[in-house]
């Protein structure tokens, strides 16, 4: 996951690599995802998120379409 100056820079990066464009989110959404994903990672009681929990986290920041589907 890379940070880009704007959507035009994403397009240019994808075109230069002949890659299909993925999805963009705001840094605020990325922060909320990262916070939910990692806030307990250094704690002894940490455990991996279940798929249901991960889906709920993605959904909580408005990521509901097929790109964010974890079940394939």
């Amino acid at each position: 996951m890379l940070l880009f100056r704007d959507e035009g820079h994403v397009d240019r990066w994808c075109e230069a690599r002949d890659l299909t464009r993925g999805a963009t989110i705001t840094p605020e959404q990325a922060w909320r995802l990262a916070y939910g994903w990692y806030k307990d990672k250094v704690q002894p009681q940490w455990r991996r998120h279940t798929v249901d929990e991960a889906e709920a986290l993605l959904s909580s920041v408005g990521l509901n379409d097929a790109f964010w589907n974890l079940r394939g």
Binding site: M1, H9, P27, Y38
Partner: protein, 154 residues
């Protein structure tokens, strides 16, 4: 009634706790020899525990030498995603992990990252569990259900 943890699971838990605690406290991800000394366990056992953790997607091993590449969100080697927090410098393997370092530490942090296209320096800042400085957009090249197919590219 659940099965008691196996020896490898017990050691893997100890290794996990040590690695992440040390990475957070020192900004340096310990490697197998360090972990072996700290836990008083043979390095071969530690490496087996690291492979167990990698298989469980708890951390990522480098493909060539089996060293820890990332106890994600903490990257073991310098990267373009630099996080300054608590007077220390950390690295993430991507922008999500750089933000994740701030989350895992639970401290204020300044994140410096290049634009993926033009390389221009960009800055994000977390303060009091809020993103208070922000610019740009975050691009995910890979759909979510393929993230772990090639986590290095993701």
């Amino acid at each position: 009634m659940s099965e008691p943890p196996s020896d490898i699971e017990t050691l893997a838990r100890d290794v996990r706790i040590y690695v992440f605690r040390e990475a957070a406290a020192s900004a340096r991800v310990p490697q197998a020899p360090d972990i072996s000394r700290a836990l008083g366990r043979p390095e071969s056992d530690v490496r087996a525990a690291l492979h167990h953790l990698a298989a469980g997607k708890v951390l990522i091993l480098a493909p060539n030498d089996g060293n820890i590449w990332a106890a994600n969100p903490f990257c073991a080697v310098p990267s373009g995603f630099r996080v300054s927090a608590g007077g220390k410098r950390y690295w993430g393997i991507c922008i999500w992990d750089a933000l994740g370092i701030a989350a895992a530490l639970g401290t204020d942090a300044v994140i410096a990252a290049p634009c993926g296209d033009c390389g221009d320096a960009m800055t994000l800042e977390v303060r009091g569990e809020n993103l208070v400085r922000s610019e740009g957009v975050v691009h995910f090249a890979v759909p979510a259900h393929h993230w772990w197919d090639n986590i290095g590219f993701t």
